[in-house]
Symmetry: C2
Subunit: 156 residues, 2 copies
DNA sequence: TCTAATGTCTCTAGTAGCTATAGGTTCAAG
DNA sequence: CTTGAACCTATAGCTACTAGAGACATTAGA
């Protein structure tokens, strides 16, 4: 039996995150010690490692929830799991495509900066005038699938 | 003078987003009509387009705040703007590197799926057993710079 | 055995960048 | 003059956690 701290160490997951996973139903509620502290068996570690690995691969928690349900019932056909993984792969591919375009524009911007004053700065200028940048045709289509990225994401 | 709706249309930004930008101080508070509705002049449109373009390039709002301050004072040296753009470029590059690694792993996973039952599914198996995947050495170093991505992000 | 340090408990609020909703007011067209 | 759209404020929600407060449990050392 592991304490929550040991479990977290073993899986490389922070303690509050484990409690969070329990709260949203990804982990089964743990048994408790006499003093009301959580105690975990080996299968909880396996489940947590599964979640952690899936998170490392970028799967959203909802997808992980589905994958765990599949894992719990090994007689179901594999197609659902395959579909989830493929969707994730496509999301990653879309994201890479987007980011590559961004990189291209950013590189141009930075390269043209003459390091003078802001008044003649190419960076500021390009940002202010959309026409100055070589932007591929900008479709506002809504093919959003798994795009809750923020910091590096153009709005869908 | 533009209403908030017209401004949004002109800039390709939703109305609540404009109010949000005002709230967090990215846009100056707009003048009001007799009936207390916001009215915008041309310079507000320019500012909003600037923000929108920077967002499209993935700049976080804090960085945009700094860029706007620089734009407001054209006599400052350009170095600060250049630094912000370069930081963004590096963040994008890091992200692409990460995602490319993820893509590789996901592709392998999907390719190995034999479309049988979950019990023998390679996808589920690989997720459950970290050793089965060809993961490059996993350093827990903290080089987080702009990583508030969620859906597709491995935790830093 | 006592004590101090660490670990754990619950609960709440905060992060980014919006989006959605509710309940009310104003504006412009017919 | 009426209707419907656009607008107002304020609040809550989204992802996936993280941080903090204040109280209780456990454990290692003296």
């Amino acid at each position: 039996m592991l304490s929550i701290g040991k479990l977290g160490q073993a899986a490389g997951v922070k303690v509050p995150t484990i409690r969070y996973y329990e709260q949203i139903g990804l982990l089964h509620p743990a048994g408790r010690s006499e003093g009301n502290q959580r105690l975990y068996a080996r299968d909880a570690l396996a489940r947590l490692l599964f979640i952690r690995h899936a998170r490392d691969l970028g799967f959203p928690l909802d997808a992980i929830r589905d994958l765990l349900a599949l894992q719990d019932d090994p007689h179901q056909p594999c197609a659902a799991a395959d579909a989830i993984a493929q969707a994730q792969l496509q999301a990653v591919n879309r994201r890479i495509t987007q980011l590559t375009a961004l990189r291209c524009e950013l590189e141009k911007m930075v390269a043209q900066c003459a390091h003078g004053s802001v008044g003649e700065c190419r960076v500021i200028e390009v940002l202010g005038n959309h026409d100055l940048c070589v932007h591929p045709d900008h479709d506002d289509g809504d093919d959003a699938v798994t795009d809750h990225d923020h910091a590096l994401a153009p709005r869908s």
